[in-house]
């Protein structure tokens, strides 16, 4: 008997499942694959893979350095393939940078000088990190990686269901 092997997906190797319809519309299942979506998207394009009222799961391909993002609520990121660094800084005056009336990630035009460094996290496959309220964050990936975000729909959320879902 061989040891059981756990099958994870990656940008280079995933086997998408599917839907066998008995009496339904396949679009009701909003079925996609995060690796396929990430492969077909621009770096750091935050594509909505799941949506439940205002809440979303976004998927992105991390590649090179991202811009800075901030948010008026916590977010979480999970690395699903590859390796990515998350840099965090404390915003001294977030109200001047983040629209407090809006949910979801907001991309900062620029990060003011002299913000306090909070630290850095290096994520590999399966690692989850907190993106805390009041912080700004940026990603760096030396080679393509895949991340998902637990967040709320915002200005950076890209919906392109017809491109990513089975129909």
């Amino acid at each position: 008997m061989t040891e059981k092997r756990t099958e994870f997906g990656s940008l280079d190797n995933f086997q998408k499942g599917g839907i066998d319809i008995v009496d339904d519309d396949p679009r009701n299942y909003v079925f996609s694959n995060i690796y396929e979506t990430a492969a077909r998207s621009e770096p750091y394009e935050r594509v909505c893979a799941a949506k439940n009222f205002e809440y979303v799961i976004e998927v992105a391909r991390a590649e090179g350095q991202s811009g800075w993002y901030a948010c008026r609520h916590d977010e979480f990121v999970v690395c699903m393939d590859g390796e990515v660094d998350v840099h965090l800084v404390k915003l001294d005056a977030p109200e001047g940078l983040v629209d407090s009336s809006l949910d979801g990630a907001q991309r900062l035009e620029e990060l003011p000088d002299n913000q306090r460094k909070m630290g850095r996290v290096r994520l590999k496959r399966g690692h989850m990190a907190l993106l805390p309220v009041g912080a700004a964050y940026r990603f760096e990936a030396s080679s393509p990686a895949v991340v998902i975000f637990q967040t709320i729909q915002g200005a950076e959320t890209v919906e392109k269901w017809a491109e990513i879902c089975l129909a």
């Binding site: 092997r5 994870f8 996609s32 979480f76 699903m80 399966g126 989850m128």
Partner: protein, 345 residues
């Protein structure tokens, strides 16, 4: 209760059937032949023998294999009746109204309802769960763990032989912000009694590199979610690992068959983290088959709010169940102000 204990909020408990609350329960004496107690909730009587549970009510009776019944009852109790309807099989189940619960036979079965043979009674959640807890505790023998995969536990058959209170009284994980943060749900390790499961020995146990500047140790935080899941000692038991308001990441590990057909009262999403699960999807009210959904690592799919689903997993798999815990949603779905499918394009 469902996944968060504050789910009911200040909302009025919905009662779309207009049923009165029944507060009539009975714990029977120990049976001389089997050693098990019998139980009664309202008009429903429950008795177990060596292989089966016998459910009877005025005008009908129903039976299930005791292993399937205990696995289903264990989830119903542990989840606080979960979201929406928990079908133990095609006949018996519960529907959660978050403070009150309906127990039914045939209410989600087209043949029963067409013939007018269904029976539904309503109970206060805390009174019903107390009886159900006693039932699963009394009927679980020392060698059997209803939460475990079949290959990882003994069998429930036979007359009364000991008990397994430790297994049936497990507390589900409900992180308030994220697993591993100070004061929140702890990570799992050998030392805390969570060895790596036999199906996940190849899953990396490395923790993320966390470099926090002084003063930010509590906010610069990360953990290995896959390692955490590889150490789960239960199956089909979603637990809250991270929270953004009502958005709940509830990852879980799945092996064999989801012990219930879950008829959610809201949209639910699955993100397959590893391996493969096949879902039988049926109509929520009638049980008529609608689709078979095969999910592999990286696949994302929603379960519409008007279906019931049951998963099959050969190799133990990691699944991210994503719930919106808002207490307002069930009534919005019932009144037609919330869609049963979250996205149209």
């Amino acid at each position: 209760m469902a996944m968060k204990d504050n789910d009911t909020g200040d909302l009025k408990v919905a009662n779309p059937r207009g049923l009165p609350v029944v507060s009539d329960f009975e714990i029977g004496a120990i049976d001389n032949e089997t050693g098990y107690r019998s139980f009664r909730v309202g008009s429903f009587s429950f008795r177990r023998d060596e292989y089966f549970v016998r459910i009877s009510w005025p005008g009908g009776n129903h039976q299930m294999p005791i292993d399937a019944f205990l696995r289903a009852m264990m989830r119903d109790v542990a989840w606080g009746f979960f979201y929406g309807t928990v079908n133990f099989d095609g006949v018996f189940g519960t529907t959660n109204y978050y403070g009150e619960v309906e127990v039914f036979v045939g209410a989600m079965n087209d043949a029963y309802t067409s013939a007018g043979r269904e029976l539904i009674e309503r109970f206060r959640s805390e009174e019903l769960i107390d009886v159900f807890r006693q039932m699963v505790d009394d009927w679980t023998n020392e060698s059997y763990d209803p939460f475990a995969a079949p290959m990882e536990t003994g069998t429930p058959w036979g007359t009364k032989k000991g008990s397994n209170n430790e297994a049936v009284s497990r507390q589900r994980v409900t992180a308030q912000r994220m697993v591993g943060l100070a004061g929140d749900a702890p990570k799992r390790s050998d030392e805390t009694g969570y060895p790596v499961n036999r199906a996940f020995r190849d899953v990396g146990q490395d923790e993320p590199e966390v470099h926090a500047e002084p003063g930010f140790e509590g906010e610069v935080a990360a953990f290995n979610l896959f390692a955490y899941l590889s150490r789960s000692d239960v199956t089909w038991n979603p637990s809250v690992c991270s929270v953004v308001r009502d958005s709940l990441f509830c990852p879980t590990t799945e092996e064999f068959i989801l012990p219930v057909e879950h008829g959610n009262d809201r949209v639910e999403w699955f993100l397959q983290l590893s391996d493969e699960i096949v879902w039988d999807v049926k109509d929520g009210k009638t049980g008529a088959p609608r689709a078979v959904v095969t999910m592999r690592a990286g696949d994302v799919a929603c379960m519409p709010a008007d279906i019931r689903h049951q998963g099959y997993s050969n190799k133990r798999a990691m699944l991210l169940v994503w719930e919106n815990g808002s207490p307002a949603i069930p009534e919005m779905v019932r009144s037609g102000t919330a869609p049963v499918v979250p996205v149209r394009w």
